[in-house]
């Protein structure tokens, strides 16, 4: 990939933000039944396993990544706050990365779906290897606003998806990437 340009990236982010706000607004208008999640408080913890892509915007490169995380939730000011600690491993043809992050969000019910808008903060260490050019280690702060969708399959198992998820990486410069993922959570 020869290059990315952040103005374009930010344009995409703004579009995504607009879509999200529109979605949230539509939900508020058309589905007044949005309530604080009624997920069983008897199982406040979740063990998460996710897989997905990291696609710098605009770019053709892709990084496969897998995440394991531990999430806990509790009621806060009448709404369900979910906190998550995650460890992510990414792999592409030129780089491997490992990221540690923490995420906070409020979980809402939307019919059978659970919607958890929030933000993730973390640090990612990246190892890049380019044939005939060399290798290097680098790192960046990770900021990932977005919302998770989850669908309970059983009392213990839920499907999770993060589609409109854009991460911002910062290390003296910003790089944005689209990071869709799907996974599963085991509640206990």
């Amino acid at each position: 990939v020869l290059g990315t340009r952040l103005a374009v990236d930010l344009g995409h982010v703004r579009l995504l933000i607009s879509l999200f706000l529109l979605t949230a607004s539509s939900v508020a208008t058309a589905a007044p039944a949005v309530t604080v999640s009624d997920a069983p408080t008897s199982r406040p913890w979740s063990l998460l396993v996710e897989g997905g892509l990291l696609v710098p915007v605009p770019s053709n490169s892709q990084t496969l990544r897998g995440t394991v995380g531990l999430a806990g939730s509790r009621l806060l000011l009448g709404e369900r706050l979910e906190l998550e600690l995650g460890l992510r491993l990414g792999l592409s043809h030129i780089s491997t990365d490992i990221a540690a992050s923490a995420r906070a969000g409020f979980r809402f019910s939307l019919g059978p779906l659970q919607l958890t808008p929030g933000a993730r903060l973390g640090y990612v260490a990246m190892h890049v290897s380019k044939a005939a050019l060399g290798t290097l280690w680098t790192g960046a702060l990770l900021i990932n606003p977005g919302f998770d969708l989850s669908l309970g399959l059983t009392r213990y198992l839920e499907l999770r998806a993060r589609l409109l998820s854009v991460s911002a990486y910062y290390n003296d410069q910003w790089v944005l990437s689209w990071e869709p993922s799907v996974g599963a959570g085991w509640r206990f």
Binding site: V1, R5, A7, V13, S25, G134, A140, Q173
Partner: protein, 508 residues
Amino acid sequence: MHRLSLLWIAVAVCSCVEPLDLRLPIALVPDPALSAAQVQVVEEAAESWNVEVGTRLSVSRSSTATQQVPILLSDMTCAFANGVTSLVDALEVKICSLEANDLKRFHQVTLHELGHVVNIRGHADDPLAVMSAQSGEEKRFVTEDHQLFREANPTFKEQDGCDIARRIGTSLSRPVLVQAAGGRTIAIWAEATRLRFTQLAFETAKPSGAAGSIPTPTASASWIRPLASADGFTVSWVEGSRIFRAAVTLPAGKVVGPKELALPQVVRKIDFEREVTDLSTAAVGQDLYLALTTKDARGALHLLRFEALSGTSRSFAPPQIDEAWGQLVTLGGALHLVLRQQLGLRVDRLAPDGVVLESLPLSVQAPIRDDDTVQAQVIEGALVVASRLAKDPIRLYRVVRESSGLRLDKKVIVQLPGHVGHTLLSMAGTPCGLGLGVNQATETQMDVFVTVLDPTNLKVNRAWKRLSPPDRTQSFQPWLAARHCRFLAVWRDLHAWDKELEVRSRCF
């Protein structure tokens, strides 16, 4: 709902820099960590854009320009892309520091990112384009790059119209220019079943005015050779082992012909594609003359004469000179032959039937070698002959015709800088100066350099200047034309599958 909005609006706030004003200079400030060679790569990429679209990019570590763009190396960029042009808060280019380890790749990445610096926001679909986001291919400027630039900068006009490049078509053989009647400059090139021609505006290199096509009856044309005529131009060309001629009147663009020239049997046996090294034409009266140099076992110069309108062959002696090559020119209405033989270089004034009326030796030179080159042009009433043997300097001879006969007026040696190659490709002259096009051949590319000489004393009065963009892996066979202090060149990309035809207008 209100809470959600607050959460996201905080993320949405961002300031992005305004597009740069391309009418003003833009200083590229290289990372202090860049080596001299890497800075030179940035300079070449900047010059490529300048030549290509007329921008004013320059590289400076201490510029006072109001528009400055840092060109920085970045480790983090490597994890996401080869290069990033950031428009957040301040415009800056960050290139993966690993890419700088390979100058060729560094050039490609820098060239692409500079496209974003000159306000191109998106990417090209053509994977070969400079502005393609895909990696792994040799990038070069293609039409889509120019379209993206124009869309990004709709009101931008090239800097003084001084460095302009346009692609006006594709050519299956070397395109040519002719300065035809009425001061019109015409580009001629070959498509599959026809020759196409168009008038070019010298200042803008834009096709404008007369245009048309000439059918090529049997195959695509090669060895296109134009001549100015009283009411337009004539053009001769090769199809297989046959030669045709047509005349075009201007400005109507009316075509008369094509007419096949009746070649003698010995010439019809020549494999033009493999054996011919030079073909020149001259017109005197109603006759058309051809000088055909071949590189068969010993090399030979074939001299041919035809009745121009009918194409019938006429007597001319000698029809063949062995171990020689040369070019025909018309000086003062008379036919002249610049002849290179084992014994040296000379100019012969010929009668219509080929009899040598007088001969002027120019030099006694070493035996002919394959890489010798010679160009002859009539410029400002004098015949200028440029000759180069192997990697020697270029020797220039200015020959004038006086009542007493031919006289060698000037003889100079033009030293070439080390980076300039040894093949003399084309020559054009104006009252401003004489332009010489030579190439620089490397393993991967041939560049074209031009200098400007005083037409009377033949002294170099302009530094050698690169005419071709420095970033392309391709070969050029330029055909130059000149007016005032501006040179117009056409060439095709020999490596591109579509043989893209480019016209470049550059002033000196």
